[in-house]
Amino acid sequence: MTGSVAPEAVPVLPRGVRLHYDRVRDQWVLLAPERAVALDAIGHAILKEIDGSRAFGSIVRGLAETYGAPEDQVAQDAGGFLRGLMDRRFLETI
C-alpha cells in the first residue's frame, strides 16, 4: 500500500482515540478501542500536530522544517504512518 494522504485532507483523531503519556513506561502511546500503540519519537511528533484543523500538507511542511528533512520524504513517511492508522480506524480525515 502506498502511504498517501492528500495534502488538503485534515487528519483528525476520532472520538475514543487519544494521545496519552504513559508515565510508567516513560513514553507516548495512542490509546484506542482495546488497543494501545506505543509511539516512537517520530510517531509522536506527527500525531501531536493533529488538531482537527490543520491540513496534512501544512503538517508536512512544519515537520520538514523542524527536522530539516525533504518535504516529499516527510510526506511519504508520515502519509504511510497515518494511512496505517486509518486502516485500523484510529484516524479519520475531514
Partner: protein, 379 residues
C-alpha cells in the same frame, strides 16, 4: 526476594527479573447478569452480591492499576450495568487516567444512563451479540425480549457517538448468521467487530456437544472473516478468535501468563486470566489485602507460569515456545489434567489425536440441549 514494597521498588525489581508492567485489566464488577448464556466465561462458582467489592475499593484499585502501568480498563461482569455505581466507577477510572471500555449485553442501560456514562467520560462500548434475530439471540441469552432491547441500546450508542465494537459470539448453532452479524456491525456504524468462536472454558465446557462448530464450519468462518476484512478495510476492523479445538497450534493465551494483563473477580481476587480459578493448585491474592503492584510482581499465581522454567516437553525444546508459551494453562488443566502440560490443542502434544477425536465427537453430536449459566445464589 523483593526488597521493598513500594510500587516503584517493585517495578524496578520486576524490570530486573524481566517482568513487564501489565497493559490491560479486566474488572469483573459483578457476576450478576440478566442473561444466562451457555458459554459464559464466568466460573461455575459465582460470587454472591454481598461478596462484591464496594465502590471505594474499586476506585482505589483503579488508581493502583494506573500506577502499575495499566492503560486499558475493561469493565465487565456478569453484566456491569447491574452495578448501581457504574457511572461513578467510570468517572473514577477516567480520573485515574485509564482508557475505559464497557463490555455489556446492553441490558440495564437506559438512554439516560448512557448519557450519564458519556458525561462520565466512557471511552468505548463493546456490545455483545448472541444472535442476529430475536429468536436466536433470546434463546442463547435465555432472556425473552433481550434482542429488542439490545437493538434499542445500539441506536442510543450510535446517537451519542460512543465508539462501538460489536462482539459476536458464534458457535455451531448460530455460525450461519455470521455474514448478517458483520452487516449489523456496519449498520450500527461499529468501528470493530470481534468474531469470537466460543472458547471452551467456564460454562461452555458443559456445552461442548451443543456448541462446538464442525471443522467445516470453522473453516468457513475463517474464510468469511478474511473476505470481510478485505471488503471493509478502513471502515470495519475485524478481530477474530478462531475455533478452539480445530487448530494445529495453541493460542498465545493472554499474550503470555502474567505479562500483559490481569483480571479482578467481583470479590477482589486477582487472576492471571478469567479461567485461572479452574487450576486448583493456584492461590490468589485479593485486592482487599494487598496492593495490586505487589500482587502482580510477587503473587504466587502470577509467577507460577511466567518464563519457561515450568515447561515440560515437548514445549521445553520447542521452537515456538516464545511465540505461544505452550498455549493455554487452563486448557491444559481441562484436557490434560495438568496445568503445566503442553496445551492439547497442539499437534505436538501427546494428547493431540485424542483431542482431535473428541473435537470430532463434540462437533457432530446430536445432543444440542443447552445448559444455561446459573445466577449467583442470593445472600
Amino acid at each position: 526476594m523483593m526488597d521493598g514494597t513500594r510500587p516503584e521498588d517493585l517495578q524496578a525489581e520486576g524490570k530486573r527479573l524481566g517482568i513487564p508492567a501489565p497493559i490491560a485489566m479486566l474488572a469483573e464488577l459483578t457476576h450478576r447478569c440478566p442473561l444466562s448464556c451457555p458459554y459464559c466465561s464466568n466460573p461455575l462458582e459465582l460470587a454472591r452480591k454481598d461478596r462484591e467489592l464496594d465502590t471505594e475499593t474499586w476506585v482505589r484499585v483503579f488508581r493502583e492499576a494506573a500506577d502499575l502501568g495499566i492503560l486499558q480498563l475493561h469493565l465487565s461482569g456478569g453484566e456491569p450495568a447491574s452495578r448501581r455505581d457504574l457511572v461513578e466507577l467510570v468517572s473514577a477510572a477516567r480520573e485515574a487516567g485509564l482508557y475505559t471500555n464497557l463490555i455489556t449485553s446492553g441490558i440495564g442501560l437506559s438512554q439516560r444512563r448512557l448519557q450519564e456514562l458519556d458525561a462520565a467520560g466512557l471511552d468505548h462500548v463493546q456490545l455483545s451479540l448472541q444472535g442476529t434475530d430475536a429468536e436466536m439471540a433470546d434463546k442463547i441469552g435465555g432472556y425473552k425480549g433481550g434482542f429488542k432491547r439490545k437493538m434499542q441500546v445500539a441506536e442510543w450508542i450510535k446517537e451519542i457517538g460512543f465508539p462501538l465494537t460489536l462482539n459476536a459470539v458464534v458457535h455451531r448453532q448460530n455460525l450461519h448468521q455470521l455474514p448478517r452479524a458483520i452487516e449489523m456491525a456496519l449498520e450500527m456504524e461499529a468501528r470493530r467487530i470481534e468474531v469470537a468462536i466460543v472458547q471452551f472454558h467456564g460454562w461452555a465446557l458443559a456445552n461442548r456437544n451443543a456448541l462446538m462448530p464442525t471443522k467445516t464450519q470453522a473453516a468457513e468462518a475463517s474464510r468469511i472473516v478474511a473476505e470481510a476484512r478485505k471488503a471493509h478495510k478502513g471502515r470495519l476492523v475485524l478481530d477474530y478468535v478462531p475455533a478452539d479445538y480445530h487448530s494445529d497450534y495453541p493460542k498465545r493465551c493472554m499474550g503470555g501468563w502474567g505479562t500483559t494483563g490481569l483480571n479482578i473477580a467481583p470479590d477482589g481476587e486477582v487472576l492471571p486470566c478469567h479461567a485461572a480459578q479452574t487450576i486448583k493448585t493456584l492461590r490468589f491474592d485479593n485486592v482487599r489485602a494487598k496492593n495490586l503492584s505487589e500482587i502482580w510482581y510477587s503473587g504466587a499465581a502470577f509467577n507460577a507460569y511466567r518464563g519457561e522454567d515450568w515447561m515440560q516437553e515437548p514445549c521445553r525444546s520447542c521452537e515456538f515456545k516464545k511465540k505461544d508459551f505452550g498455549g493455554c494453562r487452563c486448557q491444559a488443566m481441562a484436557l490434560a489434567g495438568d496445568p503445566a502440560a503442553t496445551d492439547p490443542v497442539c499437534i505436538k502434544s501427546p494428547l493431540d489425536s485424542e483431542r482431535q477425536a473428541r473435537a470430532e465427537q463434540f462437533s457432530t453430536s446430536e445432543d444440542t440441549e443447552l445448559t444455561f449459566r446459573a445466577q449467583p445464589s442470593s445472600a
